[in-house]
Subunit: 421 residues, 2 copies
Amino acid sequence: MSGERIFARYRIETALEPEHAAEVMAGEQSTGTFIKVPGETDELREHHAARVERIEERESTDRPSLPGAAKSKTEPAVYRCAHVTLSWPISNMGPSLPNLLATVAGNLFELKPFSGLKLLDVTLSPAFLSRYQGPQFGVAGTRRFAGVSDRPLIGTIIKPSVGLTPQATAEMVQALVDGGIDFIKDDELQADGPHCPFSDRLREVMKVINRHTDKTGRKPMYAFNITGEIDDMLRRHDEVVDAGGTCVMVSMNSIGLPALVALRKRTQVVIHGHRNGWGIYDRSPAIGMSYIAYQKFWRMAGVDHMHVNGLDNKFCEDNASVIASAKECLKPMFAPPLPGCEIMPVFSSGQTARQAADTYKALGTTDLIFACGGGIMGHPDGIAAGVRSLRQAWDAAVNGIPTEEFAKDHRELAVALRKFA
Amino acid sequence: MSGERIFARYRIETALEPEHAAEVMAGEQSTGTFIKVPGETDELREHHAARVERIEERESTDRPSLPGAAKSKTEPAVYRCAHVTLSWPISNMGPSLPNLLATVAGNLFELKPFSGLKLLDVTLSPAFLSRYQGPQFGVAGTRRFAGVSDRPLIGTIIKPSVGLTPQATAEMVQALVDGGIDFIKDDELQADGPHCPFSDRLREVMKVINRHTDKTGRKPMYAFNITGEIDDMLRRHDEVVDAGGTCVMVSMNSIGLPALVALRKRTQVVIHGHRNGWGIYDRSPAIGMSYIAYQKFWRMAGVDHMHVNGLDNKFCEDNASVIASAKECLKPMFAPPLPGCEIMPVFSSGQTARQAADTYKALGTTDLIFACGGGIMGHPDGIAAGVRSLRQAWDAAVNGIPTEEFAKDHRELAVALRKFA
């Protein structure tokens, strides 16, 4: 571990010289403060100061993206953008994700020299592998649990998101498994509210799934939303395992990294990471944390799946960003022979049979979960037809047959394409 | 609990009619999805749909604050801003902070109708008091531990932030307690790195503090940064208690709500909540979560102190926002006879003797921690003089004597005012 360094890359926007602004960041996040103090000796700085590794200047802008920053003194005003890479000795914080977060994404977003500051990427050192377990199941384990080897897992979200009773949820699950679904998830709004208690929902749903498994030999994966306090999450996890379930879901931003690490230590099933609230981090180009940086923390902590939105989604994220995120989930974090900690990207949000071909073309693999709520439940011929339309759309995509062409003799697909035009 | 509702207020910016945009938010975060699905019956909506309670239109703008939103179709373009209040039945999520967060700050920041969306406030219902403990010590308990009844706690942060050995830290603590300090905290960058292991730092620092207590009868409070994984935090907490310490510190954004709740269940000492990384949430007016909303989650979960920046700080936050935040910490979350869950605001960041008078004038109370790093360590006559300058500045403020006037016969204050001019 000794000598290892952590790297973080940022986009900054500043009225200062980018070199000077980068030094302010490095000082604030290691040995410095707003005034020189006696204890900050040269030796201490040499061993513990963050270093500015690289500065690449980018486009500049004539008005500050965020309020409160030091003003441009030039006329016309210029706020200069740059990508800045800093590094820290790991001895400053040790291989600890919470302490790393306080270092690379702590008290710097509000610093006065910056009218924009966003964490774009972070590079963890191998020391983290000595303390964290990373994903336990990832792509291969998920495929094994779900019994799907050669195509994406076709998934869905229970809709309406909230309001269904445990029995009504189980009835929907019955229709979905009858229709051939691979993966089902609770909505992130559905947890353990009094109208649909977790244990009751689990019991009713697993009755259906276990019966289906006995009959067909294949067990669709259901991601039960266990998000909550730690003891509750661990208890719910154990209940899922006891009931024969294969996946638990958590809202990552609601639980935080240490709770996920505690769950990862205990879990015998796949952890499905829902990123709801992620827009706070990544929607603005001026502030926050990119998905590329964000997902590394959660992968190291132990999620097996992470959401990436989908092509032509109902949110603001553009398609290039969606695909970059998905590719990143599948990219090793460490070079062999160290574990790569790859995870399975989850496509969702307004997904229907329409997006299968382009998704496959852009991603170049079927290692993904393709989750459709309305795209299944909203199929005019019902849930089973909705599921079949998606299987058909992916069959077409993988076999290089244009979707419209394939739809000519696949009725459910044809109906879906008309409905979701 | 039955019938209780949760309220959340947002600032939105949209090219749509605000009424329509608000309905989209309410639908997404309760029973709806992007398409009508069969299970969303009128009865289910009646019991579980979020309600639009209030819309107040504000200023509009001619360009969208965030990219990716639905475009304005009018010429010239208009993006309309409004404050929107939504409410949810608590039966949707139960009194659970993580599930509440997924509901009021989940998958909505990226919705296409919005070129801006920020959570401004949230109102918890009393049901949360049945499940959460809130702050254990707050203002009164902090004062009791620290032995300070009638003025702010004068505090400091150990600087340099990282790089000092346990012994060097203890030497600094010795100078600080000799100088009359009330409160000392680790920097948030200092946790349990190999260059300054937590247990060694605790042992060396508490030796100094316990010796000082034996001699003077007063125990300055030291906030040991226990931020890390849950087991580590609980173990470090226990070590602090065993060593006679009175406070632990956590970086809230690094640990998440459930870890704090677990700590709150165990703690016998004050929990100091550091908000580093908060700029991601609140710096942009267009996106994120205001401090007013943010602090309610953490108070309910159990922190006793929370950072609010300080007047004329080194960050971008303006003074009005700092004071509004501090006042909010001191404002009850529930009406009597329910507990108010008030906490102690922590002023910090570039604070010196200069800001005491204005802080007291604006806040109208001494129920705060006034933490100065450079403002103490950077005093030309040393640490003890730095501490004395702050005590003098607050004496002047509370007694209504102009600082410059009081400085005439208080040398340390006079030197501080010259140094930090």
